[in-house]
Amino acid sequence: MPNQFTKVKWIILAALTAGLGTVPIWGTDYAMLFFMLFCIYLALAQMWNLLAGYSGLISLGQQSFVGLGGYTLAVLSSYYGINIWTGVGLGGLASVLLALFMSLFIFRMKGVYFAIGTWIFAEALLVWFSNWAYVKYGSGLFIKPTNELSMEAIYAAAFVVGAGSVALVYILLRSRLGLGLMAMRDDDQVAETLGVEVFRSKLYCFLISAFVTGITAGIFYVFQIFIQPYKAFAIDWTVKLVFMVIIGGIGTIEGPIVGALLYVLLSQFLAEYFSVSMLILGGIAIVVILVAPKGIMGTLQEKLGLEVLSPRRF
């Protein structure tokens, strides 16, 4: 019975979300840390998926928004004493402005050129910030909260962006914009003939992704307290996101959830051996592309017709 299945599905989803939201109440400190990282990576991965899986924009420069979001927060909180959550929000706004500026250049490029254009932007920002006296060069800045912050408050913020990003992508894909995006993904010329505004749809996705990535990075740096250009603008960010989404299933809403969970688990087990964990991730991702190009969730959907969060309305 499809209707009964739908009902059960939503109950389970609601229970899982409630469980995730109440970790600070029932979980240990370690569980809280674990699920906070999960929420943060989930939001970042979901945004990369929105670009790569639905809009055909492979960005290798998500670290531009991570770094700018984090640095905006750091500058505002330590130089101007602005409230930390306002700083996080303004970090998202700064990322949107950067994305708008970037789009002037890179939206003229297609496919692979777009990928590398975004990466060059990120590298340019890395060099700029590490040579900029105002942000203390490569030695980095501290984020100074105006008032005492509890771990619970940071967790709540991470939960909001984590669960929020899933809800946002779900709603977005079921809207007019989402319908247009999926038409574009299948054939952008036909979609354009039928009246889908390809350029504008892609731009909206790029800006939304920049905003969410910027605020998520802000929350991450509220937790980290310290920001450095070589970490914040590192390609490692995008590497992680690409692997989470590819392994979980590109172009599915559930994929990034599974991918982020696997990534946080793996990185906890191999916390002391960062290089090894990256090596393993690289290996797994290559095997997944060769064997099951649709990733874990994509393959399950194909084989079992199991689609928990369907972007299709019909």
Binding site: F105, I120, E123, A124, V127, V239, M278, L279, L281, I289
Partner: protein, 287 residues
């Protein structure tokens, strides 16, 4: 204006080095339509191999090229034949992501094996210069880089233009299906093309290692230089690659002169983004 002429001379010579850094990326993009994101990491791998060979045998890094060239050819061949060929298709993203995976694996493998310390391939040539009169002098190493780079690029051009294999590679690049019908084994052809591309990357890696210091994470920096050269010069043209290398090297060196050495890389990136925004097909690229 003191030293300006010297900077321009250095920039021109460095341009040759940048051209050889880029030629492999350009070749493989032109032939297989693949952006090899592991290009820079393979260069650095060659530099490390050369470092250990030179130390073990007590020879000049230049002599290690005798072994580096076949090793890198084999690595490129195997990489294409057994990994990248499997994901080639209509879409460009899967091979891009596989190459990205290879890049990450190589970087972390080098980090674990060779430690994060800065290395360089020292030789007697490192500090030698000869005077040109006036205040000009030519760093011998830069001149060697330029000469070897030119020889490799011209050699590759003639190989692709005039040998049987070269014609096969160009045929497969122009029309895969027509080439197959004419009896070209495209799988093998692509693998040979990648072998040649990675071989040039190996030579570039040894030259870069002799000229600058390198780290396990230096790969992406050279990948971006290579990409910049390709973007400025346009794809698949030998002249364009030289031209792109010169422009990028001059932009970096003159940028460093005006804004300070910290901004050398940034100036290169800015020139690149401007070119991309104005002429996405490259300055010399075909429309």
């Amino acid at each position: 204006m003191e030293g300006l002429a010297q900077d321009i001379l250095n920039g021109l010579l460095l341009g040759g080095l940048y051209a050889i850094v880029a030629i492999g990326l350009s070749t493989i993009f032109g032939i297989v339509r693949l952006v090899n994101l592991a290009h820079g990491d393979l260069m650095i791998l060659a530099a490390y191999l050369s470092l250990f060979m030179a130390a073990a045998l007590g020879i000049s890094p230049l002599l290690t090229l005798v072994a580096i060239i076949p090793i890198m050819f084999a690595i490129g061949y195997i990489l294409q034949r057994f990994l990248l060929n499997r994901v080639l298709g209509e879409e460009m993203e899967p091979p891009l992501l596989v190459a990205f995976g290879v890049s990450i694996i190589l970087q972390n493998f080098m980090l674990m094996t060779f430690t994060p310390d800065a290395r360089s391939l020292m030789s007697d040539l490192s500090l030698m210069t000869f005077a040109l009169g006036g205040n000009l002098s030519v760093p011998v190493l830069y001149l060697i880089d330029f000469c070897i780079a030119s020889a490799v690029i011209v050699g590759q051009h003639y190989f692709l233009q005039y040998t049987y294999m070269g014609r096969g590679i160009r045929a497969a690049s122009d029309d895969k299906y027509a080439a197959k019908l004419m009896g070209v084994n495209t799988q093998n052809t692509y693998a040979v093309a990648m072998g040649i591309a990675i071989m040039t990357a190996g030579v570039a890696g040894v030259l870069v290692g002799m000229t600058f210091t390198f780290y396990p994470h230096s790969g992406p920096q050279y990948l971006i230089i290579a990409f910049g050269v390709v973007v400025i010069g346009g794809l698949g043209s030998m002249k364009g690659t030289f031209f792109g290398g010169l422009i990028l090297a001059l932009a970096q060196i003159l940028g460093a002169r005006v804004f300070g050495p910290g901004y050398q890389l940034l100036c290169g990136y800015v020139v690149l983004l401007i070119v991309l925004a104005i002429r996405p097909q490259g300055i010399l690229g075909r429309g």
